[in-house]
């Protein structure tokens, strides 16, 4: 070969790739969260925008600066935006903004980047951020009251602050219809079941999530409530439990987080059932009214174990063992 010859590119097979990318998936999750975020802004007023913006900015800037230090442009994968947005959905609207920023910095820096960045964290970063804030600032994090606000023609009335779940625990009656629409107290993104389900449907249609975890979570939680809730099969109580608190947000958007849920099919069912039982225990037997965040975080810790016991049998493996095995 004396002359210079044009050479074609080589690589190992396969030579084609599907259209989905990591950032594409993240973008879809962001879009799916928009109905709930939008409802939160509509319901709680413009301050919700500030909380969401600060939380997202805190996450993105932390990821960006860390990326600069490590010379890795990981911020473009949009995962920091998802974490910041999810955290904001889990914050009360009246939270001081610096706390929201602190929470998102903790979520990204401590729960994710220090463990090796995207894909390496064992705990859902947004939930880690929320639990960090819950433990550090319990008063502010459970203050769901809002000040009245007026913008143009629209007026937001001041809310007293009791969430439906707290009322339910205190033995008061709640309006389930209002809870499904989202016209109640709570964190920014958790109140509207309708908005959350619209977003979840989008993710299911796009094939990004499936019903294995949310389904087994909701079903096992319902069974737990019927058995141990003290009300037997009481549809009004059960639907209030299902629509209240962070259950819908948690089941469809937090428990389904790829990185921190089991990758095996069996493990996913196991994970959902575990979450259902733990949420039930926290809600019914613990002093607080909420339990989704802690249930999911505990579940996250057990993921390696769940994967281990549900590892699929490779195609063609026989019970007697295989020549390649040992």
């Amino acid at each position: 070969m004396s002359e210079e010859k044009k050479m074609y590119r080589v690589s190992s097979n396969p030579h084609i790739r599907s259209g989905w990318t990591t950032s594409g998936i993240m973008l879809a999750v962001i879009v799916a969260l928009l109905p709930a975020a939008g409802y939160g802004i509509f319901h709680f007023g413009p301050r919700a925008i500030a909380v969401i913006a600060v939380s997202v900015a805190g996450a993105v800037i932390t990821e960006g600066i860390f990326g600069l230090c490590c010379k890795k442009a990981t911020v473009t994968d949009l995962s920091a935006v998802v974490t910041g947005l999810l955290l904001a959905m889990n914050l009360p609207v009246s939270l001081p903004l610096w706390m929201a920023a602190l929470g998102s910095v903790f979520a990204i820096l401590v729960a994710k980047l220090l463990f090796g960045g995207l894909g390496q964290n064992f705990m859902n970063p947004a939930l880690a951020g929320r639990c960090f804030l819950l433990i550090s600032f319990p008063k502010q994090m459970s203050d769901f009251s809002t000040k009245g606000f007026e913008l143009g023609k629209r007026t937001w009335d001041a809310l007293s602050g009791a969430t439906p779940l707290a009322a339910l625990k205190a033995g008061e009656s709640v309006n389930v219809m209002e809870m499904i629409v989202g016209n109640t107290g709570g964190t920014i993104g958790e109140t509207s079941v309708i908005a959350l389900v619209i977003g979840a449907c989008l993710l299911i249609l796009l094939g990004i999530i499936d019903l294995r975890i949310p389904g087994s979570y909701i079903v096992s939680f319902s069974i737990f409530v019927i058995l141990f809730g003290g009300r037997g099969f009481d549809p009004a109580y059960l639907s209030a439990q299902l629509a209240g608190g962070g259950l819908m947000l948690g089941a469809f958007f937090m428990a389904t987080d790829y990185v921190t849920r089991p990758i095996t099919v069996g493990g996913q069912y196991l994970f959902g059932i575990f979450l259902g039982i733990m949420t039930g225990i926290f809600r019914i037997f613990a002093p607080g009214a909420e339990g989704v965040s802690y249930a999911i975080i505990l579940g996250n810790l057990l993921v390696p174990l769940m994967e281990k016991v549900t590892r699929p049998r490779p195609f063609g493996y026989r019970k007697e063992g295989n020549a390649h095995g040992k």
């Binding site: 044009k6 074609y8 690589s11 084609i16 790739r17 998936i25 894909g119 699929p312 195609f315 493996y317």
Partner: protein
């Protein structure tokens, strides 16, 4: 009835429309011919001609070495120019016989054969062996070895692999449409070796015309049936095909014969027919020349040994300069950096693409989305296996069933992080298989 298929798999863009309606064209090589002595799995053949010898088309030029091996035949007439290492599609240098084509295409006399009905099973096997037939779907396993299981009477199914699940490939499709009687003839011959076997023509349901045609042709046959398979990659993989047709599972340490099956691809069956009924050795095959960079995508009947460069020039060349040229399909084919490579018994296609999707996408970290686990027909966990391979964690790799990977490429295709999953697992398997062999 539920469609016959397997668990997992993908639906990539199939690109078959480019060439599926183009009838097979004959092409005669003019330039130098290269015959690698190892076009099959097993021991390389040994040259039985010397430099300067005149050789006729269809004349044996290299003899099989041992049982798992296959002879090589000249596909044109001419003079042996050299016997030297040449580069083949895999990138390796392989000892090859180089021939100057004299352009006369003078044929060696066909092997004189007994009529088919008088042949014994062993005579049929011997004829197939002497024709140099190997698995022409890409693997290149000597066919006579496949057809010689320890207990032939225990074979229950002879499956003709007519799935052609690999995107872009249409050579089997054209063969089925244009010469279905040769395919069925080949299957009939193989069925003579296995007295208790049923013959099954397993076709993906994206080829309804083939299914109709083959059903019509085999309507009177009690031992042959046509089965429609769901269109999905890798439906035509040997293990996935056996599972789809019979529900039986074969793992990496087993042979199809262990579950009573023998599988052969379309072109291989046709080659069997030509060898046993017509006395012709394996010197030609159908190659799909396709891709969006090719001027005139089409299916060609080529003489084995001509170079891809010559095939491409004869076919009108490129429309636009390709970024990537692949020998075989996009899922399991081998990328070529140069076209001066001989076609062999296992060359299914030449695919030229204007865009290289692999280099266009940088691999990122695994987000554990689980898509690779879902699509894996071997039901292993490619995300973990690839990581174990990167760290050379041999024990973990085996524990997680890494040897069950069939290297189909579904995981790399589907991965949103664009990780090189198949590549890593494949390299690890190669190392471990070599290690096992040494022991």
């Amino acid at each position: 009835m539920a469609k016959l298929t397997f668990v997992g798999g993908i639906h990539p863009y199939d690109g078959k429309d480019l060439s599926k309606d183009k009838p097979i064209r004959d092409i005669l090589p003019k330039g130098e011919m290269v015959y690698p002595l190892s076009q099959h799995i097993g021991a390389p053949a040994q040259a039985i001609v010397a430099k300067g010898d005149r050789v006729l088309a269809g004349q044996k030029i290299a003899e099989a070495q041992g049982f798992v091996s296959a002879p090589v035949f000249a596909s044109v007439s001419g003079t042996v120019k050299a016997i030297e290492p040449r580069r083949v599609a895999s990138g390796d240098f392989v000892q090859s016989i180089i021939m100057e084509n004299d352009g006369a295409y003078e044929e060696a006399p066909a092997r004189s054969l007994k009529p088919l009905q008088d042949m014994t099973a062993d005579e049929i096997r011997e004829t197939i062996k002497e024709a140099g037939i190997v698995g022409m779907g890409g693997a290149g396993f000597p066919t006579h070895v496949k057809l010689s299981p320890k207990e032939p009477e225990k074979i229950e199914y002879v499956i003709a692999n007519c799935a052609e699940c690999e995107p872009y490939l249409t050579s089997d499709y054209r063969r089925m449409l244009e010469e279905p009687e040769k395919l069925v003839g080949g299957l009939r011959i193989i069925l003579r070796l296995f007295p208790h076997a049923q013959g099954i023509l397993a076709v993906e349901d994206n080829k309804p015309d083939c299914i109709r045609l083959l059903r019509k042709l085999t309507a009177e046959e009690s031992r042959i049936s046509v089965k429609a398979l769901q269109t999905k990659y890798p439906q035509g993989g040997e293990r996935t095909l056996i599972y789809a047709v019979t529900g039986r599972e074969v793992n990496s340490t087993m042979l199809p014969a262990d579950v009573g099956c023998v599988v052969n691809n379309v072109d291989t069956m046709v080659a069997v027919y030509r060898a046993v009924a017509e006395g012709k050795p394996l010197t030609e095959r159908i190659v799909t020349l396709t891709g969006n960079a090719v001027k005139d995508p089409c299916n060609y009947r080529i003489r084995i040994g001509m170079s891809y460069a010559e095939l491409l020039t004869a076919a009108g060349g490129f429309l636009t300069e390709p970024q990537k040229v692949i020998c075989g399909g996009p899922m399991m084919g081998m990328a070529l950096f140069d076209l001066n490579i001989p076609t062999t018994k296992t060359s299914t296609a030449l695919l030229a693409l204007t865009e290289d999707e692999v280099s266009a996408m940088e691999p990122g970290p695994c987000i554990k989305c689980g898509r690779c686990v879902e699509v894996c027909p071997g039901r292993v966990m490619p995300n973990y296996l690839a990581t174990f391979a990167e760290h050379f964690a041999e024990e973990k790799f085996l524990e997680y069933g890494g040897m069950e990977c069939c290297e189909c490429g579904c995981c790399s295709y589907i991965c949103p992080a664009k990780r090189q999953l198949t590549q890593n697992i494949k390299s690890m398997r190669k190392i471990l298989l070599a290690k096992k062999k040494k022991k």
